[in-house]
Symmetry: C2
Subunit: 435 residues, 2 copies
Amino acid sequence: MHIVDIILKKRNGGELSAEEIDFFIKGYVSGELPDYQIAALLMAVWFRGMNTRETTDLTLAMTRSGDLVDLSAIHGIKVDKHSTGGVADTTTLVLAPLVAACGGRVAKMSGRGLGHTGGTLDKLESIPGFSVDQPMERFREIVNRVGLSVIGQTANLVPADKMLYSLRDVTGTVDNLSLIAGSIMSKKLAAGSDAIVLDVKTGSGAFMRERKDAEALARAMVDIGNGAGKKTVALVTDMNQPLGNAVGNALEVREALEILKGEHPGDLKEVALALASWMLILSGLAADETEARQALEEALSSGEGLKRFRALVEAQGGDGRVVDNPAGILPKARRVIPVKASADGYVSSMENAEIGMSALLLGAGRQSKTDVIDPAVGIWMKRRLGDRVKPGDVLAEFHVNDEKNLQEAMQRFTTAVKITPKTPEKNPLIYRVVE
Amino acid sequence: MHIVDIILKKRNGGELSAEEIDFFIKGYVSGELPDYQIAALLMAVWFRGMNTRETTDLTLAMTRSGDLVDLSAIHGIKVDKHSTGGVADTTTLVLAPLVAACGGRVAKMSGRGLGHTGGTLDKLESIPGFSVDQPMERFREIVNRVGLSVIGQTANLVPADKMLYSLRDVTGTVDNLSLIAGSIMSKKLAAGSDAIVLDVKTGSGAFMRERKDAEALARAMVDIGNGAGKKTVALVTDMNQPLGNAVGNALEVREALEILKGEHPGDLKEVALALASWMLILSGLAADETEARQALEEALSSGEGLKRFRALVEAQGGDGRVVDNPAGILPKARRVIPVKASADGYVSSMENAEIGMSALLLGAGRQSKTDVIDPAVGIWMKRRLGDRVKPGDVLAEFHVNDEKNLQEAMQRFTTAVKITPKTPEKNPLIYRVVE
């Protein structure tokens, strides 16, 4: 087998065999194939695409490139959840304790990565003492006992993805459906769960701004998951405004706790419950959405979800009192600055990625891998799309420590939130379920 | 300027500016831009193509990447000629002395490279003593005095082409019109002549098998040449059978000498005179093809062309007696083996590349850069397309030293030459002149 033949085959519109895909992934990871040949192949893939079979084979070849997490010591069906990323998108902190409370098993490995706020790992680490570095043995033990655990990815999880992503990033080949789907799903498959629920975001704060692109990505990932023998479902959900109110690490923990206490209705809760419902269905713990929803509401009202959250925090070395007294335990910013509306009308649109960027500028996220996150800072949204506002009304609170970028953050935020005389059309919260 | 932006622009179908093209060529040659980014860009160029302006700018940027040959010390208009390569295609040895005899100035730099026989350099080196390594000063002096000289390319002529070609070769991006045209024309432009006549071959022995591809390449190269301020013309000529009779290095010198002596009519002479005519026209030494042809026939019949050939050989250290006694001076193979027809009918087609491959197997060419050419060996064709043959008629003579690959060479040759009951349609020798 020769790599040039494989490049030419794809370039000329051919379908690569599982063996050919395996050959180039193995060769690249082992260092036998140079990056310039893989770069040319990736560009050919960008132009020609990959069909469902090729995409699944690519994902499986990537999955096999490193360690496979063995969750067999955990009893029951293990269910994982993944979001393609959004603003104020802290669904995991809400749904994982609830799913655990209903008998589900959530053994979650997360990556860090760049973004307007940290990922689930960073959010949990804002709780004093909480550690995401747990040995595999202990991870499995926590899931068996508490029903959930969240740890960092092992170093050798899907090295092919790390290498391919770095190469795509510098060769203009990031935005290809098969490569994106393969990147996400290879990590999910390697992480060892039996079922996977995907939350594919679309809108002004999502990687896939267009709904049709998000749906295509959802379809591709569900096909890969099912093709690899995992029960997989994707929800395509709205990201045209921050999903919750909190954009920031400790702030998002606070909001998740409020929801788990039943004090905080809204879109974040709705999406979390929808995803959790499908996690229960795929785990065989509920027959349909109605039954799942009932069980989840029960876990909320009984306080069992909150109990699981506390158990998780304590199992991973954190201060469990955060559940009773989040304001006292979580880090707090020095100043809370209101950002006010200057016009009269309706909140008609939000350039959501810019709201995320404002939070990042306050210190809530990472622009480069070496950036250090400030867990205390961020934005607490006070208004949602369609809300009526008058000049002087508070649109959001900025939680600030370092004021270096405050002015730019404010300016980007106020430019991002459009106020017009007419009320906007309302987007559905959940566009579609892809099974 | 960022290389990823340039990759994305081309990938998305944009037109690269002269500055962007210059940036990536300079960056690649200097080592600032890594090969994987250039590989991705080349693949994007393969898919999107380059328009005439981009192709010319690419060629000019490549030309500037190394030394530019200064021919200003040579009096008169310097005219160069390039063939895209064919079998028994020794036009340079015929036309350069004739053009010189008519007052033209042919300062020719050639490369070596792979192929079924050597290039012009290798052919001339089959003459005992002939050296293609002449200092630039001496090169210009010979051209001024004799009217022609042929030397090897300086080491630093268009390094961008060497680098890009090596990369294209291993990334499936060889067969793109702009990249092929840029590769050829950058070397012609750097070589410093004022006018360029191109011989673009098409048919079973050519890189461009299809006439339309050859015509497109001719168009692209003429546009580049004219865009760069050089008078440029291309002839699209037939390569569906060996152009001359001789396929091999010393054998081709012999055939060229026979033509210069007026003893050897045929297609090689016709194509050489057609190319030479355009060289005279572009040099301002003839008003049109009729006038040019007349001057060239005069140079043939007067023996002035032959005299120039001898002067060239002697100026570059070779044995001038080769002109009077080629058989005695040139290296000869140990055995001459006739290859005979086994069927009755007409020579209806030749898989010409396979005839070249047969000569290569006898030792006349190079498959890898380190192969050593045997100047004596090769094939002397005895029949042409359309000839009537009977079983036992000699189709060709194999001039053989090392018999290691003889059987394979014979077999490939006899498979390549098809004999059928019907006489084939005759192809034109010159399909088109592209000005």
